[in-house]
Symmetry: C2
Subunit: 413 residues, 2 copies
């Protein structure tokens, strides 16, 4: 090839695609001996390999019938199972007209974003938030606005004011054990969010990969499950099997008013035709076998122990130097360095001490709003002993950083 590539005329959102600060940490996180609190991955050793193998073997016995194109909206068997699972969370829907199977909840958000948004439109997402969610909105060319989120979830007064001003078409939240904050929106705040949706005519889009991972406190129903009357037209629910079963299934789903769901299915036809009928049948079979209901309590309990271990070790090893609120579920601690050192300055010391977290600023759609002292630490993938050791190392790293000791690791800004 001639050495110099031409200046391709990329679409505006792809002119200068953002690097992923989380992915750029992965080489460090995967070093042998390093304790990684950086990934957003579920625990590999907790996957129900046996249950999935059983379901896979059952499907293999009828594999010839599972190899064609699936319906665009998903296999009927899986839609029925997912409607049942949604109902168990409090959200009833018609699996034929209101539910569709998607490639994780990420695809559900991407489809919905494309159906609703185009250049000139406005969307809102809480901040901090999962960067891929922000990107799904931004790639439509719409303007993406942020509303601060914290331990109580999205700031509803700020949202009310912003919505009056910019008239967003969509407002996106992770209402249960958010990534990265670990925050949960209380029932009365969910109701108020629905009121705002009706008043300002925006879709409330709840992405819910984590709510079943509650090990503490009382369950709160999905936002869409709380919607009544007019509000039911404005609530969309997205969920995923990635955190409770396994990411490699790439199975998520959306529940939306029929007019919206129909267009998302049309968008999916042009995007990737359909999800794999084979994998969909494996997931449907796994659910029909009752394994899911046995498996989720097991990972919930394991994550609860890991969360306890992190809270205990943080208090023990970094008392007063890192502030945090202990989450009631999910996979993440959102913690804050209380001294002069910020999370980016600490990171190379942490890597040198063989413990890795993600600096909080990676999760702000608008860098100017970033809390530079914040950090996200996942307790999902390490066991209790590793987590305790990780906090010891983090304490040592912080001491070394505060003392301005030389550090051998150097990271791109």
């Amino acid at each position: 090839m001639s050495p110099i590539a031409p200046d391709y005329a990329f679409a505006t959102p792809f002119l200068n695609p953002p690097a992923s600060p989380i992915r750029s940490l992965m080489p460090y996180a995967m070093r042998p001996g390093t304790i990684s609190l950086a990934g957003g991955y579920p625990a590999q050793e907790l996957f129900d390999v046996e249950g999935l193998s059983v379901a896979s073997t059952q499907v293999m016995a009828r594999l010839g019938g599972c190899l064609q194109y699936s319906n665009i909206d998903g296999q009927a068997s899986l839609r029925e199972q997912l409607a049942r699972l949604s109902a168990a969370r409090g959200l009833r829907c018609n699996p034929d007209t209101e539910l569709a199977v998607t490639g994780g909840s990420q695809q559900a958000l991407a489809l919905l974003s494309r159906v609703m948004l185009q250049p000139g439109d406005h969307a809102v997402i809480e901040t901090p938030a999962f960067p891929n969610s922000v990107q799904a909105l931004r790639y439509t060319g719409a303007a993406v606005h942020t509303v601060p989120s914290g331990p109580q979830g999205i700031d509803l007064d700020a949202l009310d004011e912003l919505a009056a001003r910019v008239k967003p078409k969509m407002v996106c939240v992770v209402a249960s054990f958010s990534n990265p904050c670990g925050a949960t929106l209380a029932r009365e705040r969910r109701l108020r969010l629905l009121e705002l949706a009706v008043r300002h005519r925006f879709l409330v889009v709840e992405d819910d990969p984590y709510s079943e991972l509650r090990f503490d406190g009382e369950a709160v129903p999905p936002i869409a499950a709380l919607a009544e009357g007019e509000a039911r037209h404005w609530a969309v629910y997205l969920s995923s099997m990635s955190k409770t079963m396994a990411p490699a299934l790439r199975i998520g789903w959306l529940v939306a008013p029929a007019e919206i769901r129909r267009r998302c299915v049309g968008a999916k036809a042009a995007d990737d035709m359909a999800c794999s009928a084979w994998i969909q049948e494996v997931v449907a079979q796994y659910l029909a076998n009752g394994r899911y209901d046995e498996h989720v309590p097991r990972i919930r309990a394991a994550y609860g122990l890991r969360c306890d271990a992190m809270a205990g070790a943080l208090a023990r090893e970094l008392d007063g130097r890192i502030r945090f609120s202990k989450p009631q579920g999910g996979m993440f601690f959102w913690a804050r360095l209380t001294g002069d050192v910020d999370a980016t300055r600490l990171l190379p010391y942490a890597i040198e001490h063989e413990v890795v977290y993600v600096p909080g600023k990676a999760f702000y759609a608008n860098p100017a709003e970033a809390d530079l002292h914040a950090m996200r630490m996942s307790f999902a993938t390490m066991n209790e002993a590793q987590i305790a050791e990780g906090m010891v190392r983090l304490g040592r790293a912080l001491t070394a950083c505060e003392a301005n000791e030389p550090v051998s690791v150097s990271l791109a800004a």
Copy 2:
């Protein structure tokens, strides 16, 4: 829910989503006893269920390691195998910088379209063409122009003239055994297409699901494989396992210049995170087992016999009433009614006589350009006896239609 849905402010391309004339035929095509030539599906009874079961069982033995998130660009094992397969077709590439795994070639086209196109931009696709390809381009908000295609493939003089006028960023073709035309672009025409790409600075995007299904004549290399010097910057290759292995795998791939491929991978992160690591490992294992190289000649031979059967039966049963050129590969006959009756008028008679095809007008992005006498007939999913019987029925249906006999089937316009 309150009975009346609000007028949602959908993005422009989704205000009035098109109905799919092909999908609307499926209920008729699936009636017991009906001979369906309508689907774009590969033959189910020819899937290598045994080979896939062997690969799946091998992967199941190491399933615990295949359940996490895949790399966004695909599992290294599969990228290596797909690079090898591309090389066997004449196209060499670096599996780490120029190749990415996608959810079928449909997703590859959708990603590329989003990376390149936005409202105000122009794209070109041959016509007739697969409607989902047209939709992938249209959903970006770009203007989609058509260039006529026929038995020799896309009209390059017309393209040259159009490109000078509208400055398209992408020109999309299926160069081998196109859907619906069954046409193949000869080598010298591929070279001229590359010249036009360099001159007008557009990407030539070749979607190639069918080239390995050649049962007659000599193989022509992919367009990107013929690109030299500057032209290499302007050629993108898309392919899929859907027609040669099975659609339910949802595995395709793209080969593109690194700067373009990198952005498609970024778009995929926001679209669906990655393809299933599990399924990718099954496909990589299947390829590594050498089953693919054994399987493809088998389906190629079977499709060749079916194509012969259709050509023979068409000549025998509809001599002079339907004109066609026999394809050298793929799955489709593009045929033309020579009399007064057009393909839409004939369809209810055909359904009544228990044979279903797709009227050609379904494949025209611009309805005003449609050849109303054209029809697409797939020979892939019916055996030789069924195909022969289907042509007998089609002859009877045409006679009934020409005689204006009453017909009980009524189709939406």
